[in-house]
Every structure is written in structure tokens, then in C-alpha cells.
């Protein structure tokens, strides 16, 4: 009995240390974001500094394009996720429900695309976008992002469709719709959980993307928030407070959504990997 208590205490100590290490940088950003302007840079380690103020937030919103960056990110990300999920939903349906010539090889192609390092394709994508005169535009970004999460989305959705009994569509077909109608009216509404996972996945991937945005967007009005924050942080001394404020504003909602959905996200991940 006593041994067990000692063990539990040790476990708690270990976990508290680990949790501190995990959360500390975030808490530091928070601290910096509410420091007064003249003391942004300091070796002080207190969580809530003396004379805490929201000046950095106000400065961020007033003096930079931060809201505009968020809006840019939102437009690009929403459009990307919408395209990605709609393409994936039909393709996954074809893979889940039909036997057709080339199905196996198409699945292998899907897996193989995962082997191509994303970083490797930035250059040709960049050149394509340049050639199409889409540099520094939403459309260019959307084109660059739209298929990056497609194989994974197809994989998740296929796994989910596979769990829906075939007889549901057959019932719908007997009830008077075609195959597409059955998909539209029965399968899609039933797949909302998987569709939201796929959407979320697409969304986070595009939302947090930095490297493509860095080369496609060049005017600071068109920046996504990742670029904007990087720029703020780059000029370390002067704008560290604004960077911290911006980070807080971006991170907190993302964190909440992630924690709320992490259960499904993880099950989706394992679904994809185990079934693959």
C-alpha cells in the first residue's frame, strides 16, 4: 500500500514537471504579451508581470495589419478546406463502394503521394503560380494548398464510409433516388463526424502553413498570420510584445478547438494508419 502511494507521488512529480515544460513557452508568451512596453525584454520570470497591460494587443491591432492577416488566412484556409473535403468526399466514396479497374493502383498512388516530401514540391508549385500570374493572390495560395491534405482526407473518409452499411444506400435507391442521390442524401449527412475531422485536418494544415506562403506572398497586406508573426518576431527587440500578443490571439482559439476535437483527431489518425 505504501509503495503504491510513493509511486503515485513520484508519478505526479514527473508529470507536473513534464506538463510545465510543455506549457511553459505558452505561458511565457502570455507574460510577454501583457508586459508594459518598456519592459518587454527582461529576465523576469514571473507569470504576471508588474504593471500588466494590454497595450501590446492594442498596438498590434492598431499598428499592424494583424486583422487583415487573420482574414487572409481565413479566406485561404476556408476555401482550401472546402475544396479539399469536397474532392475527397466523392473520391473516398468511389473507393469505399465500388470495385473498378485500377482501384488498387489508384490507392497505391494515393499512398505514394504521401512519400513525396511536401517541401520538395514548393519550388515547382512556386514556379507554376508565378507563370500563371497568381503570385501574391488568394487564388495562388488556394491552388497551392488545396490538394496537400487530399490523400489523407480520402483515407479517413474511406475508412468511415466503410463502416456505413451498404444497405442504407440500397434502401435509398429502392426508395427512388439514383446512386448519387443516395450518396448526397444518406451517406453525406451520416458522415458529418468524418467530414468534420477531414475538414479540421485540412483547416489546421493550411492555417498553420508557413513555407509556401513565404514564397508566394510578398506584400505585407496579403500576408497570412504566420508570415506576419514571423516578421514581427524577426525584429526581435522592438516588436516582441506585439508578436506575443498576436501569438496569444491565434493560439488560444486553435488550442481550444484542438483540445475539443483531439479525441476524434487521434482516432482519425489511427484509423488512417491502421487501415492503411
Amino acid at each position: 500500500m505504501k509503495k503504491e502511494t510513493v509511486k503515485q507521488i513520484l508519478l505526479h512529480i514527473g508529470l507536473i514537471c513534464a506538463a510545465l515544460i510543455c506549457v511553459y513557452p505558452l505561458s511565457r508568451i502570455f507574460t510577454v504579451s501583457i508586459r508594459p512596453g518598456d519592459r518587454i525584454i527582461s529576465t523576469d520570470l514571473a507569470l504576471i508581470p508588474d504593471q500588466a497591460t494590454f497595450l501590446s494587443y492594442i498596438k498590434l491591432l492598431k499598428e499592424t495589419y494583424f486583422l487583415r492577416w487573420l482574414y487572409n488566412s481565413l479566406v485561404i484556409t476556408a476555401a482550401t478546406s472546402f475544396i479539399g473535403v469536397s474532392l475527397a468526399s466523392t473520391a473516398a466514396y468511389a473507393f469505399s463502394r465500388f470495385e473498378f479497374f485500377g482501384k488498387r493502383s489508384a490507392m497505391i498512388v494515393l499512398l505514394a503521394t504521401q512519400m513525396i516530401p511536401a517541401g520538395m514540391l514548393i519550388l515547382p508549385l512556386f514556379l507554376m503560380i508565378m507563370k500563371l500570374n497568381l503570385m501574391n493572390t488568394y487564388l495562388g495560395m488556394i491552388i497551392a494548398y488545396s490538394v496537400s491534405s487530399l490523400p489523407f482526407s480520402i483515407w479517413i473518409l474511406k475508412g468511415y464510409y466503410d463502416t456505413i452499411p451498404k444497405s442504407l444506400e440500397e434502401a435509398a435507391m429502392v426508395d427512388g433516388t439514383g446512386h448519387i442521390g443516395a450518396f448526397w442524401k444518406v451517406i453525406l449527412p451520416l458522415s458529418t463526424p468524418a467530414l468534420s475531422i477531414a475538414f479540421l485536418f485540412n483547416f489546421t494544415a493550411a492555417w498553420n502553413e508557413y513555407l509556401v506562403a513565404r514564397v508566394v506572398l510578398f506584400s505585407s497586406k496579403q500576408y497570412t498570420w504566420t508570415l506576419g508573426l514571423f516578421e514581427l518576431q524577426g525584429q526581435f527587440i522592438t516588436q516582441w510584445g506585439m508578436f506575443a500578443a498576436g501569438s496569444m490571439l491565434v493560439t488560444v482559439p486553435v488550442l481550444l478547438v484542438f483540445l475539443y476535437s483531439s479525441k476524434w483527431l487521434v482516432s482519425g489518425l489511427t484509423l488512417g494508419s491502421v487501415k492503411g
Binding site: P165, S167, L168, E170, A171, A172, M173, V174, D175, L190
Partner: protein, 365 residues
């Protein structure tokens, strides 16, 4: 209401022959039960009729119109699935009105029909529930309700009772029988349960290995099975089969093997002479084994040893051992036999079934 006609239906999956030249005519208002062991092609037959699968060759006609190329939605059929296939994201009401909505029926008409069906099936109070809130029997009723609101030409039932427990199954069986009396429509019903087939059917189609083995009224199929497979499949408990030769001895024909020698009266096997000395299979239902000493044919009685007695309540199953051959007989409960006792019996000659040992076809009338 409509007739259904299967003409030379062949269905192959890759090289697997699922249905081998099936011909079947179903008349208007008929309740046809297709029965057979799993994998016999009965469900495939139903799915072909529904249009859920494509025919390899042959024609299907509904109401004398060829429907081979029509999609399921255009065939005016309704189907009750084995797992009910209720749309999980719709209420009972929405489930039942889905098909009518697709056909753009006026709202009042939909409401009226749903109400009608709900009354017949006692679903009025459940209309606003979701399928997951229903019990198995209720789901079953909703599935049937979804079919009847459509007033289709043909109803298809795909093993609708197999997911229910025994008691519920009996209840639903009665419901379906009642429904048929009310609707008086053409029904094609697929099951592997021969009890359902016997009790519900106006006509039974017994299938095995993609071939229609027999097609007739329940009584016909029970009393005069056309081959050994049908004989063994229909009837519970199963028929006893004995393998042996026909022997002619002193003006009479006998069935003989190592374990027994059984007298065959002329009326039960008029063609005996043709088969004299040939291998045959003799089938006799447990009910047709006479144990009651008052009714036994004492001149040709057989004797065996009682092996096990299973008491079922009102009756008992008596397993007899005649040489190496085990024979099941059915007797009144609490008879005077006990295990290891010697038992004497004879056969009810009116109901013996003789099959050719090679073709397994019935050879007595």
C-alpha cells in the same frame, strides 16, 4: 400490384456461378417465399429483382415490362432489408416519408399515407423518434412501414426476421401474415428459415446452389419433396434418410441395407420393379414413424434400440438405433420407452419418400 417473371436468369461474379438459369413466375397478389441455405443465391435473386445488382443474362419482367436496365428507383418496388437499413439521421416519420418526398408527393398525401401505415403497424407514438431509440421489433415495423407507404407493385423482404429473437420473430411472423391479408399484394420473401417459409407462403420456392429445386405450395413441398435436398431442408425435425437397395423377394419389394430390411407396399412405390437391385435413398419424416403398438403394421414391424430421449414438453424426440443407423422418431411426451429399451415400430407407408441414389430425384409418387 403486379406479376413478376424471371426468365433464364444467370448471375455470375467473375467466374462464380451464383444463379444458374432460374425460371420463376410469380402471379399477381401472390406471397412467394424463396427459401434455401445461406449461399444458395436466394438473396441475389431478390437483389436482381430490386435492381441492386446487374443480371449476367436473362430477363426480369415486372407487370410484363422488362426491367433489366431500369435502376431500382424506377422499378416501383419496396424492400425490407435484413438489417432494416433505417436512415439513422432521420426520424421514423422522415424515414417513412423519404420515398414519397423523393417522388414529390403533395404534403397532405404523404401525411395521410404515413398515418395510415403507422396505424396499421402501431407506430403512431413513435413517429418522432430516431431509429436508435427503437427496439428491434419496432425498427422492423418501421422498415415495413417504409415499404407500405409507397404502395409499390411488389414487396421484397430480405430475411426480415433473422435479426430478432425467437419470441419476437413469431410475433412479427403473424404481423406479416396479417399485413398480407390486408394489403393483398405481391410479396417476394427470402428466408433461410423453413418454418417462416411454411407458415407464411402461398408458394414456396426452394433453392440450392443457384438452382430452383422445387416450386410449389407449402403442403406440396412438405408432402412431395421433389428431391433429397428439399426433403431434408423442409420440415423440422429433419427427415431420416436411409441408403440401401431395392430387393424383390417373394412377391414383395423390400428396401434393404446392412442395418434393416423394410417392406415397401406397392402403392407407395409403383415403379419398384424398375429399380430392383439399384441403390436408392429412403426418406421418412420423424412424424411418420409409428410407435403406437395399436397402429403398428405388425406384419412388417422393425425393431431398434432406444438411444436417447429428448423431452420437448408436449412431445419427445426419440433417437433409435437400428444397427448402425440412427433414426429419429417423434412421440407423445412421457411415452413408455426408456433409453436402452427395445422399441418396435413401422413406417407410415403413405408418407415415405424414395429418391434415386445418384440423381437424388424423387422416384415414388
Amino acid at each position: 400490384m403486379a406479376s413478376v417473371n424471371f426468365k433464364n436468369i444467370v448471375k455470375k461474379y467473375n467466374d462464380n456461378l451464383i444463379l444458374d438459369n432460374v425460371n420463376l413466375e410469380i402471379k399477381d397478389h401472390e406471397f412467394v417465399v424463396v427459401v434455401g441455405p445461406s449461399g444458395c443465391g436466394k438473396t441475389t435473386l431478390l437483389r436482381l429483382l430490386a435492381g441492386l445488382e446487374e443480371i449476367t443474362s436473362g430477363d426480369i419482367e415486372i407487370d410484363n415490362i422488362k426491367v433489366n436496365d431500369l435502376p431500382p428507383s424506377k422499378r416501383e418496388i419496396a424492400m425490407v432489408f435484413q438489417d432494416y437499413a433505417l436512415y439513422p439521421h432521420m426520424t421514423v416519420r422522415e424515414n417513412m416519408s423519404f420515398a414519397l418526398k423523393l417522388k414529390r408527393f403533395p404534403k397532405e398525401e404523404i401525411e395521410k399515407r404515413v398515418k395510415e401505415a403507422a396505424t396499421i403497424l402501431q407506430l403512431e407514438k413513435l413517429l418522432n423518434r430516431m431509429p436508435r431509440q427503437l427496439s428491434g421489433g419496432q425498427r422492423q415495423r418501421v422498415a415495413i412501414g417504409r415499404a407500405i407507404v409507397r404502395k409499390p407493385k411488389v414487396f421484397l423482404f430480405d430475411e426480415p426476421l433473422s435479426n430478432l429473437d425467437a419470441k419476437l420473430r413469431e410475433e412479427m411472423r403473424i404481423e406479416i401474415a396479417k399485413l398480407y391479408q390486408n394489403l393483398n399484394s405481391t410479396i417476394v420473401y427470402v428466408t433461410h428459415d423453413q418454418v417462416e417459409a411454411m407458415t407464411l407462403a402461398g408458394r414456396i420456392v426452394v433453392m440450392n446452389k443457384g438452382i430452383v429445386q422445387q416450386n410449389g405450395t407449402p403442403l406440396d413441398v412438405y408432402r412431395k419433396p421433389q428431391n433429397a435436398f428439399v426433403a431434408g431442408f423442409i420440415g423440422s425435425p429433419t427427415m431420416n434418410f436411409l441408403k440401401g437397395k431395392i430387393k424383390f423377394e417373394g412377391d414383395f419389394f423390400y428396401f434393404e441395407n446392412n442395418d434393416a430390411k423394410i417392406f415397401l407396399p406397392m402403392f407407395s412405390f409403383p415403379e419398384a420393379e424398375k429399380y430392383s437391385g439399384k441403390e436408392v435413398i429412403l426418406g421418412i419424416r420423424p412424424d411418420d414413424i409409428v410407435l403406437d403398438s395399436a397402429k403398428i403394421d405388425h406384419a412388417h414391424k422393425l425393431s431398434a434400440v432406444v438411444e436417447v430421449i429428448e423431452l420437448l414438453g408436449h412431445r419427445e424426440n426419440i433417437y433409435l438405433k437400428m444397427g448402425e443407423q440412427r433414426i429419429l422418431a417423434v412421440g407423445e411426451a412421457f411415452g413408455d420407452l426408456s433409453p436402452n429399451a427395445k422399441a418396435e415400430f413401422s413406417l407410415n407407408y403413405k408418407n415415405i419418400h424414395i429418391f434415386d441414389a445418384i440423381t437424388e430425384k424423387r422416384i415414388n409418387p
